[in-house]
Point group: C2
């Protein structure tokens, strides 16, 4: 399925929201057909079945992460600025998809083994991208010497990914404000205090 197609994107986002609300197993192809306004036949033009749909959703989410977070961050030199920008952009990306893509990205057990391996590899690469920035900060002695870069990377990703579970569009907080607060907490937590 070509991910560049606007209709396809619409099907994926609507299906993701529905699955997030109802749960994957409880959502039928009929439900998805109704939510997307497509006939069942029309829907099968985009997806081969529910399991394939879940993979398409995750692939779409990982593609977005690459183009909207990883690639812009790779343009930045300074690792502190990289990390700050990554936290901001990732939280803003989650808010666009109403958290659905992120939450569903954890349902890897619902995938076929080869698809599961593909998604897990991409997640691992993202984790290593984040850890790499922290390692660079550590080599430059800008973070505590006893800091464990893996734990710190997981902690930061935990903060970011949890946003998908608690953020409500109708709440009082704008995603940019949340993103700024999270970036500030993480960076103040990581960086050495001036002597």
């Amino acid at each position: 399925m070509p991910v560049s197609n606007a209709r396809t994107t619409d099907v994926i986002l609507k299906a993701a929201e529905l699955i997030q609300e109802q749960g994957f197993e409880a959502t039928t192809v009929n439900d998805i057909s109704r939510a997307t306004g497509l006939t069942k036949g029309g829907l099968y033009h985009y997806i081969k079945g529910k399991r394939d749909l879940l993979y398409q959703i995750m692939r779409f989410g990982m593609d977005q992460l690459r183009t909207q977070v990883v690639q812009p961050v790779q343009q930045i030199e300074d690792p502190e600025q990289q990390l700050r920008t990554l936290i901001r952009l990732h939280i803003e990306l989650i808010s666009q998809g109403k958290g659905a893509l992120t939450t569903l990205s954890e349902e890897v057990q619902g995938l076929e083994p080869r698809h599961r391996r593909h998604i897990l590899t991409q997640k691992r690469e993202y984790f290593e991208f984040v850890r790499g920035m922290i390692e660079r900060l550590q080599r430059a002695r800008r973070v505590r010497a006893d800091l464990n870069p893996s734990v710190a990377a997981f902690n930061i990703l935990g903060m970011v990914l949890f946003f998908a579970r608690w953020y409500r569009e109708d709440g009082s907080l704008a995603p940019t404000a949340v993103a700024d607060q999270a970036a500030e907490l993480a960076l103040s937590g990581l960086l050495k205090r001036p002597k």
Copy 2:
């Protein structure tokens, strides 16, 4: 079902691990019977069915959180020390249950509505317990004035809960070391730097 019973605890923990591995929908009562070493009839002595089991698992997890995290933390006066201890104890609790209880606590959509409300209320109370500590630190001007206590509480819970998803018992990191690193990152991130 009485949660104090050791056999019941064993059934709950084994079922939780199995469901985490296989997914809730994919796990049959037969699978659980095999994993717990009980006959199907014996199993129905402990649970009314799969949906009830999910509720029992979550209730058990929330009970553990209360007795092993909330109650000890309530004995502490200073909010900074409270928060530090809460992060440590919660991460250690997650490591005991191999993350299964925590991961499953997010499957609230699988519950009957009244059970779902009960679990969501308990989660809300825990969140407010954490936020309350941050608010006390803010009133004492020990955290930045522009800090949003709700966002900070969600960020800290995100760090803690994500531990359940990435921690592997056979990895090189002890849960206590992870807990110390997470507490340090969160507290350094929150507290004002000395002038």
